[in-house]
Amino acid sequence: MAWYDEDSWLTQAVGPNIWAVIGTILLALTLPIVLHWFIYRSSVLAKTPSFLVLGPSGSGKTALVTKLETGHGSKTHTSQIPLTVQSHLPKSTVPKSWQYRSTADYETKAPKPLLLTDTPGHAKLRHYAYNSLASTTNPPTGILFVVDAADLSSSGTATGGANFALSDTAEYLHDVLLSLQKAYNNAKTSKAKEIPFLVAANKLDLFTALPAVAVKSTLEKDITRIRETRARGLLGVSTIGKGEGLGGNDEEGDDEREVLGGTSEGDFKFATMEEWNVSVEVVGGNAVGEDGPGVEGWWEWIGAQL
């Protein structure tokens, strides 16, 4: 039978038939709902805020991440690959977007999920961190840079030998900030979103640990020094032509050499980074250990970014 016959399926489907009417009504009613759910769900999934945890090896990144995830943390060793965990804001911390909500609001009862990405801090494995920093598909909502405050304090200025932990930390921090600055400068859209940057001074429960303020000034001082030597250092080798070999083109070199904070003159301050939409804050705490401020301050900061 052809499609135009009276009892063909097509005619039945659009004919004045009770099932066709019911079907149409159902479709008309459910389609928007389905669409809404579909779009709503997917957008929520995509928007789970993700925080990137950086820092040199041994500063306590993995310990912090597990602590924030489970509340008690677990024993950790040197990481080799990144680790992403899902965590929830504790009840006591109110996200910024909820600050005008009533405390009785039902939504405040549902813990807000967030993703924490731990990266390996070993110098040979930092490319994971830089890759996630530069990621365009899933840019981090905020960055936590964990430093070992107890290690920075043994600053070896008196002995003449440089404190390795300090220089390593400062160097890493410098490179991370510089890459953020470059990303901002190279951004096509001028209105890049502000990137909250937390320097988490970890291990404050230890006796030798510097307080957060001192951590800040120590790092600023060391970054100033790094910036100075970087500005005067040698250029990186570049590839000539279309990958023909290695060489140094000075013309090309100039614009790639970007100095953190725009100039190598004067002292570096974290505050200057706001020019590049990076707001740096230093908060102390400790991921392991009983006494000390704990992770409260960091939760506060994370809450303030949500």
């Binding site: 090896s57 041994g58 993995t62 991440v65 597990t66 995830e69 489970t70 677990s74 024993k75 950790t76 060793h77 040197t78 990481s79 080799q80 690959i81 990144p82 680790l83 992403t84 965990v85 899902q86 993703l115 731990d118 390996p120 070993h122 110098a123 040979k124 494995l125 930092r126 490319h127 200025t157 008196a158 002995t159 003449g160 030998g161 440089a162 390795f164 220089s167 390593d168 160097e171 020094r225 790094i226 030597t229 970087r230 005067r232 250092g233 040698l234 250029l235 990186g236 080798v237 570049s238 590839t239 990958g243 023909e244 070999g245 290695l246 060489g247 140094g248 000075d250």
Partner: protein
């Protein structure tokens, strides 16, 4: 005996650990850093080939490990190097099979680091069984292999200290410590008696139940057997249930080590003396234990059944793991149909991805990759090692969606190269010089010396560095340490004159030549130059040395004295990018030439502009020694000195 056993994820989280004797956590950190990240343990890798698990020794401890690649797990066993534990390999193997099987789901769960794993019982059980096997295999040799007490009746006092260990790890640790203190004969921590004394294996665990018995010596041996059957978890012995348990012979029949249980009536008697000592501990342990049992969810009325379940489950898992391994092996040899289907699906998978890589899959692409690296002038040795490490990384991995083996291999190789070339510590020469020179306490010049084979460009690169330092307004002294080749000093003088002119135009910094003519001992000249520099307020001393063949022991031996007298802050070796596979030997020999405790600090790879994209020498040298490349020479001018940028080099190599 075993000190610690840990199960770690590659992301650094300890999933499960059992500590008998606490060891510094830096031990395992070092293992990870040196072997997994920096891949320094070449010897450890070599041992791997013999079917043995790789080992790593440090600070008197031996670490053996195995990995489950697909899940990203590392299983590490730590014990003192003095001991020989034969069953360690087997233990690692079994624990890996068990753990991956039991908790696979939890581990693969995304966005989650914690795994809830009540693995203690399985582990204890494994240890017991392996110890028993070991003992069965060589009862006479029990003493020598495990390094313990003579297996005779003198076990009285030992057992008093040793026997009480309840299954809880905490208590074991505790007990093991006491055993260390009291009995010098028994060096090993707890489970030792099992292995050392034939026939006692279960006696160890009847301890759990023992305190409840008080001192009823007459029934002890029988009791011992029953409790032994119920092994570690049967803490329920303490409860009235033990009476009924005694009657349950059915469970006992299932134990194949029945005979052993019978054998040690004497031990049972002696054991009893120990019981009162530890009774307080034990009661705690029992409480905890029974709690754990409940959590475990299996039946608690009769300890034996539950235990048997674990044992059976464990064996089932292990045997299935074995048969799986067998099956995969068998697959390759299966019939024509099977193999062709396998081949087709393999091809399909190769395109679509999601294929689990095996050694066979990788042979061809790896060969291609190796050839590619060789074409890029990477020394064969380095290329082979790179390929091996990539192979190790990839075997057992699943390829991603819509990625072929080649692509996967390529990314893995890029990753490996990047890992090799990236230095472990930051290299900022200026910063180091600055902190040395401007240090308030003791002012001294920063000393850099340059070594290398003949004609690689030592003097040229030295003057390039001098130029770079002069640009930064340092006062530089160049010491002519080449007292052998005629014209060497004059060559440096030409450079110094050129540089002087440049600095005069600039108005800051200074450069001078320190030379003592030919024929003198270079080491003394170097030392004198450093003294001279200190006296005349120079910031940096650059010491040139005579070129020497790296395989000439006579010439190389003078380097040790040189390093001793001049005490350079940095010893840099110049190698040319043109050199082929000799780069590895050059780097190794020079690295070893400065005596114990002094190594090279960096490489300068010269003539990079002459090799095009064949920059493999860089990789060869770094791979041979693990020492970073500090500078690259890229041209004829003073300014043609560059620092390494890993991305561009990796890009060139992978083209």
């Amino acid at each position: 005996m075993l000190d610690t056993f840990e199960i770690i994820t590659t992301s650094g989280v300890v999933l499960w650990s059992k500590t008998y004797v606490p060891v510094a956590s830096s031990l395992i950190n070092n293992l990870i850093r040196e072997v997994f990240v920096e891949e320094r343990g070449a010897n450890a890798r070599a041992e791997n080939s013999g079917g043995q698990k790789p080992t790593y020794r440090r600070d008197g401890y031996t670490l053996k490990w195995t990995a489950a690649k697909d899940l990203g797990l590392i299983f590490v066993a730590v014990y003192q190097s003095l001991l020989q534990i034969r069953w360690i390999d087997k233990l690692l193997e079994n624990v890996r099979a068990l753990f991956t099987e039991l908790y696979r789901d939890q581990i693969t769960k995304p966005n989650c680091s914690a795994v809830d794993c009540p693995f203690d019982q399985y582990f204890d059980r494994q240890i017991q069984e392996l110890e028993k096997l070991d003992k069965d295999a060589g009862p006479q040799r029990g003493g020598p292999t495990i390094d313990v007490t003579p297996p005779t009746s003198d076990s009285n006092d030992n057992s008093a200290d040793d026997m009480p260990p309840p299954p809880k790890p905490v208590l074991r640790t505790l007990n093991s410590n006491t055993s260390h203190d009291t009995t010098s004969t028994d060096v090993t921590p707890i489970p030792t008696p099992d292995a050392s004394r034939p026939g006692t294996p279960r006696a160890n665990h009847l301890l759990t139940g023992r305190p409840g018995l008080g001192g009823r010596g007459s029934r002890r041996s029988r009791k011992g057997m029953v409790a032994g059957n119920s092994a570690p978890v049967s803490s329920g012995d303490e409860t009235p249930a033990n009476a009924s348990k005694k009657g349950t012979k059915g469970a006992k029949k299932m134990r194949k080590w029945d005979a052993n249980g019978h054998a040690d009536e004497d031990d049972g008697t002696t054991l009893d003396y120990s019981a009162p000592v530890a009774s307080s501990n034990l009661s705690n342990a029992n409480v905890e234990d029974s709690a754990e049992q409940e959590k475990w969810g299996t039946r608690t009325a009769k300890g034996e059944y539950m235990l048997k379940d674990i044992g059976d489950e464990m064996n089932a898992i292990l045997s299935s793991a074995n048969s799986n391994a067998g099956a995969t092996n068998g697959d390759a040899a299966s019939g024509l149909v099977g193999s062709s289907i396998g081949a087709i699906s393999g091809l399909f998978r190769n395109v679509v991805g999601g294929k689990t890589l095996t050694k066979e899959d990788l042979v061809k692409p790896l060969k291609g990759m190796e050839d590619h690296l060789l074409k890029k002038n990477v020394a064969r040795e380095a290329a082979v090692r790179l390929c091996n490490s990539v192979e190790r990384d990839l075997i057992g991995m699943k390829t991603g969606n819509f990625t072929s083996i080649d692509t996967t291999l390529r990314t893995a190789m890029e990753k490996a190269l990047r890992k090799i070339l990236t230095p472990t510590s930051p290299l900022d020469l200026l910063r180091e010089i600055q902190s040395t020179v401007r240090s308030s306490t003791k002012r001294r010049p920063y000393v850099i010396s340059i070594v290398g084979v003949n004609g690689v460009g030592k003097s040229t690169n030295l003057s390039k560095i001098a130029f770079f330092l002069l640009q930064n307004h340092y006062r530089v002294l160049i010491a002519a340490g080449d007292t052998f080749r005629s014209g060497a000093v004059e060559q440096l003088r030409v450079h110094v004159n050129n540089l002087k002119e440049l600095t005069q135009r600039q108005g800051k910094g200074a450069v001078d030549l320190f030379e003592k003519g030919y024929g003198k001992d270079a080491a003394h000249i170097a030392r004198d130059s450093v003294e001279y520099a200190a006296a005349h307020a120079y910031d940096v001393v650059l010491i040139d040395t005579a070129g020497r063949r790296h395989n000439d022991a006579r010439l190389m031996s003078s380097l040790e004295k040189f390093a001793e007298l001049a005490k350079p802050d940095k010893i840099l070796m110049v190698g040319e990018a043109l050199v082929g596979s000799d780069a590895v030997q050059q780097a190794r020999h020079f690295d070893a030439a400065f005596g114990v405790g002094r190594r090279l600090d960096g490489f300068i790879v010269s003539k990079c502009d002459t090799v095009g994209d064949m920059v493999g020498t860089l990789v060869s040298m770094v791979h041979a020694t693990g020492i970073p490349v500090l500078f690259l020479g890229t041209g004829q001018h003073y300014g043609d000195l560059r620092v390494l940028r890993v991305e561009s080099v990796v890009g060139l190599l992978m083209q």
